[in-house]
């Protein structure tokens, strides 16, 4: 005798419920009840009245599915469309996988005594700031000294590729959003969702879609998360361009392409660059989590620290991530301020 038998009877569904016998394996609670020797649910008092959930109703009426049946159905549904989804997504995302692997090989193949000076030179060229360049030099020499160089360079390689993809995809999307209010209204909830969803949540379907050994799996996870700021700030930057200047561009007969390339993008550039800076920082945050799904780099060490309770390994690699974050942030911001200063 289950709690909701009376209700089922009262609404006259007894016949409908008893058409099919109870099916499916027992739930955990049923098993435990059996083990305790209880065959029937005891009479419950009002305080312990269970919520009329799927499981509770199922006890009174076996036609109603249990919660586990529902999650099963969702899984089956997802697996059903998985193959179709793969056919579409695989070719699109394959280049990403190639790029990630290629870049990883390249970054690791270049010997440290070329790579480190090269990174320092790039920083100097982009930022023209002695302080930032010194920071980069110190960080890499330090990480190399404590044998974290390879991990750091792997992390850097992944961020590099994912940022390129985010910018190449994100800037045009942002431009399109700035030109269409309808598109903007549609895109903003999606962007909000990508940014607020805990990152683990969208790792789940990705694992089913691609095998964990494929590098594009973590590539997609990182890009989905990190592309948001560059889209948002491109859209915002273009919408914030001075209306008077746009009017002047129109009055002198610029085509929309001329307007975009000669006025809107150059004037939105500081905002777009701020978006790229944030994208890089979010890639770094995500690349650590992505080590759960086989992304190489410093995240692997953090994970080892957690899994094996190797406190020192975890702390030191965590510190290296902080170093990487600071130097990426400082060098992109220094480059950004140079763009701001020149031509203004």
């Amino acid at each position: 005798m289950a709690t909701y038998d009376g209700v089922i009877e009262a609404v006259g569904l007894t016949d409908w419920c008893s058409v099919e016998g109870a099916g499916g394996p027992m739930t955990m609670e049923e098993l435990m009840a059996q083990a305790r020797g209880e065959t029937e649910a005891p009479d419950v008092n009002l305080w312990e009245l269970p919520f009329p959930s799927l499981d509770a109703l199922n006890q009174s009426c076996s036609v109603i599915p249990r919660t586990r049946d529902m999650t099963d159905a969702v899984e089956q549904g997802f697996l059903g469309i998985k193959d179709a989804l793969r056919v579409v997504l695989d070719p699109i995302t394959t280049p990403l996988g190639w790029m990630l692997d290629l870049s990883l090989q390249f970054f690791q193949a270049v010997p440290w005594f070329i790579m480190i000076p090269f990174l320092i030179a790039i920083t100097w060229f982009a930022s023209k700031s002695a302080k930032v360049t010194a920071l980069v030099a110190f960080s890499f020499l330090f990480m190399a000294f404590i044998d974290h160089y390879v991990y750091a360079i792997q992390t850097l390689s992944i961020i590099f590729v994912c940022t390129i993809f985010s910018v190449v995809l994100g800037v045009p999307i942002g431009i399109a959003m700035s030109r269409s209010n309808v598109l903007q209204r549609g895109a903003i909830p999606v962007l909000d969702m990508l940014q607020t969803l805990p990152t683990f949540v969208y790792l789940v379907p990705l694992i089913f879609l691609f095998s964990v050994t494929e590098s594009k799996l973590y590539g997609i996870a990182i890009i989905l998360y990190a592309i948001v700021p560059v889209i948002r700030l491109t859209d915002l930057g273009i919408r914030l361009v001075d209306k008077d200047v746009i009017e002047a561009a129109n009055a002198f007969g610029m085509t929309s392409w001329q307007k975009l390339t000669r006025v809107q993008i150059p004037l939105a550039l500081p905002n777009i660059m701020a978006g790229i800076n944030q994208t890089i920082m979010m890639s770094l945050a995500m690349v650590v989590i992505a080590s759960l799904v086989s992304a190489p780099g410093l995240g692997v060490l953090v994970l080892r620290g957690i899994r094996n309770l190797e406190l020192g390994v975890g702390l030191v690699s965590g510190f290296c991530i902080v170093l990487l974050a600071i130097l990426l942030d400082r060098s992109t911001k220094a480059a950004l301020s140079r763009i701001d200063a020149s031509g203004r």
Partner: protein, 355 residues
């Protein structure tokens, strides 16, 4: 009198209504609903109503009105930055409203240039690059374009500033760049929307002088917008006064001063120094008769203030009025004094409609 120049821009029965359904609101306006009623009862903003203006080749047409009277809206119809609800705009006899995208772009690129109240320069481009922008938009480039840009910068008094960025210049200098940019497009028509309103009074006077000096040489068709009467009187060959999207009076500025046909205009002109603005030509007796008892000769384009100085304040004198070495009329000091009496809003006898 002077030969009238050919009409360059002709505006006929132009209406503009802002709102969700301007077409049906237009019916109400044509049925006589005014601006406040249209807003209150139908939720539409009346931008312009029944505008008819001819702008002549080589002249400065000044459109004057208080803020919100529709000046900016009107000037933006000429290059179709704003589309009209109803009416016609013709430039050189061609219906601009029938233009497709390509022809409209050509019109904006080579026939009409524009100067803006807030300068609207490209902040990421140098002064020279800003000046050559209209030509580069047309696909021109190279040394010839650069030289042309430098020439116009020199012409507006910005010699040596080509490599600066706009924000390194003062407001007055930035607007000189704005004027150089408009001139560099080599278009016969120049639209100027409150071009000098953002500038300090002294700099504004400089800029007005610069514009008049350039105009003496270039003979552009200029449409100039201002809310400042002194500026309007200084620049205008033809003055159009707007109120609530309607033309209340238009004509020669001196004519409007002497015969305002609306209390609104009377208010507008009540504070100006009439002796300085009015010219001998506007109040003289037009005749080739030899007057007697003449005290001397004055020029037709002299202002009344200078004549009063010559006469020493004697109201019984008469002068011969000369223009180009010939007599064009006689000036009686009694008429002069009468012309200086401000037109009072209540004085119906003076409020003759200037047809």
């Amino acid at each position: 009198m002077k030969q009238k120049k050919p009409v360059k821009i002709s505006i006929r029965k132009l209406y503009k209504i802002f709102g969700s359904d301007p077409k049906s609101a237009l019916e109400h306006v044509k049925a006589g609903v005014g601006k406040p009623d249209l807003l209150k009862r139908y939720g539409h903003v009346l931008g312009l109503q029944d505008i008819n203006v001819d702008m002549r080749d080589g002249e400065i047409t000044v459109i004057m009105g208080l803020s919100g009277s529709g000046k900016s809206t009107l000037i933006r119809h000429l290059n179709r930055l704003i589309e009209p609800t109803d009416g016609k705009v013709e430039v050189d006899g061609e219906d601009v409203l029938a233009y497709g995208e390509k022809k409209l772009r050509d019109l904006r690129r080579s026939k009409m240039s524009m100067v803006f109240q807030k300068f609207a320069l490209l902040p990421h481009r140098t002064v020279l690059e800003n000046t050559t922008m209209p030509r580069r938009v047309r696909g021109e480039g190279g040394q010839a374009t650069e030289d042309d840009g430098t020439k116009w910068l020199d012409r507006v008094g910005l010699h040596g500033y080509g490599g600066h960025y706009p924000n390194q210049l003062s407001g007055g200098m930035q607007q000189r760049v704005g004027i150089a940019r408009a001139l560099a497009s080599d278009s016969p028509i120049m639209l100027m929307d409150e071009a000098f309103s953002a500038l300090d009074p002294l700099i504004r006077t400089d800029m007005q002088d610069l514009l008049l000096e350039l105009q003496k040489e270039l003979h552009k068709t200029i449409v100039f917008i201002t809310h400042d009467l002194d500026e309007a009187l200084k620049l205008a060959d033809h003055l159009v006064i707007l109120k609530d999207g309607r033309v209340v009076q238009q004509g020669e500025p001196q004519e409007i001063l002497l015969h305002p046909n609306d209390p609104y205009i009377v208010d507008f002109i009540s504070d100006i120094n009439r002796a300085r603005v009015l010219r001998v030509r506007s109040i003289m007796e037009e005749t080739d008769r030899e007057g007697d008892g003449l005290a001397g000769e004055v020029d037709a384009d002299q202002n009344l203030e200078s004549v009063i100085a010559i006469s020493g304040g004697d109201t019984n004198l008469h002068y011969r009025v000369m223009s180009g070495g010939q007599q064009v009329g006689l000036l009686h000091m009694k008429d002069l004094v009468r012309a200086l009496v401000p037109v009072d809003a209540q004085d119906a006898s003076k409020r003759v409609s200037a047809a």
